[in-house]
């Protein structure tokens, strides 16, 4: 690993996945000068760990989807640089975890796979998005409700789904993202999990996730196709989704598979604007 990280594991002692998260953290500390943040001690004495977290990028290791470590990071306002969820890793690698609190063959194998993946990811040359080839010129309509301001693109090239995601379609490509409604509902976005480059996604599949201290949501892709590019800047600056979810905060680019068919279940500006207004009014009613 190239950098020295601060590592915050969930370390749940009564669950297999929690035990794995603790063990993975220990293994990671055998590389470079990574340092563990103990989630238990952090709750009662935060000074030491706040210093470590402010000096190093942070890896959060959650055992399961309860995401205790992520929630602790959000509570302490820590910016997450990488995130690992043990149960997800086990699923993705087709490894069945036993319920034992002692690590056995499968659990150790999983730890090795995750370690290798992390090291490889560090060494991999970053794929650079071909940003210049996609020129999106947004024009917005504004809707205000109290202190909240919602901007909605009104270009005819922009399509929406009712899950508050947009697609800017140019030829056989689309750039996708979330609308102001999503970023306002989530409040401060702390972490972005991008979709995988090269992945084939169906319409309404998840094209990544975004997480704030309040919530975690799937980005529901309005279009089907192959992910050809992701907005890598968001991995370090997820707050750009809050600042402008259409331009600097775009999520991914998709090479379209069957836009004519996708279009049947998408809406344009006029319809989405009405739906948005209704949602906002209902939320604040």
């Amino acid at each position: 690993m190239v950098e020295d990280y601060a590592i915050l594991p969930c370390n749940g002692l009564d669950k297999c996945a929690g035990v794995i998260s603790g063990e993975l953290a220990k293994k990671l500390c055998e590389h470079n000068k990574n340092e563990i943040i103990c989630p238990v001690f952090y709750r009662i004495a935060e000074t030491k760990y706040n210093k470590i977290a402010s000096e190093h990028p942070l890896i959060v290791i959650d055992g399961c989807q309860t995401r205790c470590a992520s929630k602790l990071a959000a509570e302490k306002n820590l910016k997450i640089s990488k995130k690992i969820t043990i149960t997800e890793e086990a699923k993705n690698n087709h490894i069945e975890l036993k319920n034992s609190l002692r690590l056995q063959e499968n659990e150790n194998a999983l730890i090795e796979i995750i370690l290798k993946g992390l090291i490889k990811k560090e060494e991999k040359t970053t794929l650079i998005s071909d940003e210049t080839s996609f020129i999106a010129n947004f024009e917005y309509e504004i809707f205000k409700n109290g202190k909240f301001i919602f901007r909605i693109p009104k270009n005819s090239e922009v399509y929406f789904n009712e899950n508050d995601c947009w697609a800017y379609v140019l030829g056989n490509r689309a750039r996708i993202g979330v609308t102001d409604y999503v970023q306002q509902s989530l409040s401060d976005i702390l972490y972005f999990t991008p979709p995988e480059i090269g992945a084939d996604i169906e319409q309404f599949d998840a094209a990544g996730e975004i997480e704030s201290s309040k919530s975690l949501i799937d980005i529901i892709s309005p279009v089907s196709g192959k992910v050809i590019s992701i907005n890598e800047v968001l991995e370090q600056k997820p707050e750009l989704i809050n600042e402008n979810p259409y331009e600097l905060g775009w999520i991914a680019e998709i090479e379209l598979a069957d836009f004519e068919s996708d279009k049947e279940l998408l809406i344009g500006f006029d319809k989405y604007f009405e739906i948005l207004k209704k949602k906002v009014e209902e939320t604040n009613a």
């Binding site: 399961c64 989807q65 309860t66 169906e202 309404f204």
Partner: protein
Amino acid sequence: MSESTFMGVERDKIDWKPTLDYTKCDYCMECVKFCPHKVFEVHETEEIKLIVRNPNNCVVFCRACAKTCGPDAITFPDKNATTLRIKEIRKEEENNG
């Protein structure tokens, strides 16, 4: 909070809701705290302490509560089947009307 239609189809006609596996659920209630649409309801004093009370409040294609579920006790219908069904219903309604 309930949306009466989704993509022009009456919400009631779209089968999209969480299903709880009570053999896995540990009643941590993370899903209840998470879902802002009041899909779930807590019955503290009963044996089954958590039910899906308002399935039509569930946002079609949203599976976020399942992501918060530590014991992995929440499942959703097949998304592609739901998409196809929505398209079918829209076609039927177009033809009828």
